[in-house]
Symmetry: C2
Amino acid sequence: MFKITPLDNGLENVEGFFCGATNVGMRTKPINPETGSADGDVSFIRSTTPCDIAAVFTSNTFQAAPIKHFKQYPKHFQTDFILINAKNANAMTGEKGVEDIKTIMTVLSNKLAVLNPVMSSTGVIGYRLPVDKIVSAFDALAFDTANSQQTARAIMTTDAFKKEVAYKVELDDGTSFSIAAICKGAGMINPAMATMLCFIITDAAVPKEDMDTLLLDATEGSFNRISVDGDTSTNDTVMLLANKQSGVYNKAAFGEVLNKLMFELAMLVLKDGEGANKLVAFEVKGALSQEEAKKASMALSNSLLVKTALFGEDPNWGRIASTIGASGITCDDATLTIHYDDLLIYSNAFRELDKAREERAYVIMKQPSFKVTCDIGLGNESYTSYGCDLSYEYVKINAEYRT
Amino acid sequence: MFKITPLDNGLENVEGFFCGATNVGMRTKPINPETGSADGDVSFIRSTTPCDIAAVFTSNTFQAAPIKHFKQYPKHFQTDFILINAKNANAMTGEKGVEDIKTIMTVLSNKLAVLNPVMSSTGVIGYRLPVDKIVSAFDALAFDTANSQQTARAIMTTDAFKKEVAYKVELDDGTSFSIAAICKGAGMINPAMATMLCFIITDAAVPKEDMDTLLLDATEGSFNRISVDGDTSTNDTVMLLANKQSGVYNKAAFGEVLNKLMFELAMLVLKDGEGANKLVAFEVKGALSQEEAKKASMALSNSLLVKTALFGEDPNWGRIASTIGASGITCDDATLTIHYDDLLIYSNAFRELDKAREERAYVIMKQPSFKVTCDIGLGNESYTSYGCDLSYEYVKINAEYRT
């Protein structure tokens, strides 16, 4: 069919794209004290030719100003420039927030020929953008070079590590295209999107209509299935830009690679879940409908009691069962079974956990990732979501976020 | 109208009721290490005459064995005996769990004449009751005495303090009745009930049909409005027993006192929220419907990001706004206002928080309790729910619950 090769250096692999970052003084502390480097707070992604763009935005009613600004363009517009800032979400800033973006873009246009530039912001809600600081970036940014690592770091907020993925895809006829992405997000991660930004670029000649449907499908299979804390931000954005410079396209290959790339990024976000130490897949199967399977699976990945039991490495399957019972789906404790990886930990046949199983459960729970499978035993539908544990560190990070 | 007098010594104030507790070895550690006393793990509440009973149970599909056992009685049954145990929820124990209760009650009947005895359990899910230990309590319990404090302590699990309330109610004609309650609960507290048990006894001559409707109303105004962690247990139970020995009844007075008593208990449960330091009322008003007001209010009291901001005493109103936007109700950031107590902290008129308001907000947030009011500005409906902060201590308690 086709061959996929992972590549280093993220966004730098895609023909006709440039990217980079600079520090204009919004980020006053280094992200990692030990590295001490002055990471950027304003960054860009630019294409040398116009791109079609597909985007998925937060379901939060209070969409941030950059999203409102994006939506003022015609439905099918092309762009060649994304400007991104950290430390300030430009959310709940009203009409002024959108005007600030227009001011910034007017200054940009005087420096550089850009087509329908879009903006994306992440950070604290409720403060106007420092427009003067941001436009000062235009003198410092190197618009004709590509530095993926710099860009991936500049979009980080509470992230512990940068998130970059890139692939070269070779089709059977010897032609090839590239796809790459950077992503940020570590908290407020929730089904129905999260405080996460994800920028995907490709030189594949993917038609606009495929971009929209494939991006939605891949979002449902990735970012919509992860939960760190059940909150949904005002700024969540996934953008896919295609400049089509390779001239190459195969729908099946492109869709599969897009799914793979976004799933990997979603798992990186979850691994970086604020204070999280464990990544757990919650599969609910044997449900009467996919809707019910999803409801129970999401309830598990969002439950505080399940999350703290994971942190405590306590094989307390009662919390799993109780959460399924509380989710409101059709279920019966006589048909339910619960597995941790391959270990049957609850069934009507034995219920009470014997010492041997408990010991094995402890071993499974000590792993950095494992799977909880709940078979409702009533139907054939299933759904898997992904969650993490809740540690002291989560509380610390979020109690002290603004300081 | 009528006069309400609070009384010490909880359940001991109600004519014709006895109560007490003993330790049969399920609770192996003292509840408070500093007091070191051997608190009970099996307790009872008994009436000298048959009582009508009204009960509200958990909405969790997996209702615990004591609830299943209760429901095997005819719809309008009378009882004179409640047996309660801590440390074991008798949940997810299947038919065996109900059989164990019947075995226990058969042994009890051989010691003491009881009418339709009911049971209530709290503790870990998924283990059979230690029947032999529990029946050994029947030799130790003093069935003809009343010790409310002992009983209130014996039902505690992660509670930091016992919860007892009692009132004498004097009507204008000089007649009076008493009502008293004990309650436990500190975690898994959620709208739609919680891991909480509440036993209310009265000598008022309240008719059975009023008991049912008044208890439901009072539950909606109290326990259904508090949230510690958004989880819903298998065992939640509120029971109201009326032996009618006073011969006195006034519906308005009884309803008002029941509401007051249950609201106070709910606030005690919230104050005892695992690791909680702050009690916060979340009023949502100006909503298009009461359903929407409730949805947004509950979203606030359940949000991890709001809870951690409360713990950090961070006047980050952006998290409040973001949570309302994510709740899915009809809202507009131009009509929304947010107050902390009487301080306007967000409105379309100024949005960005100035230093003076921020300083005042810090002072408000340092209080042990305060109110967040969100006026949606679109309608006339309102709803208030009650939540608490999320601290390191919550994570610790729940990571180590079984150990």
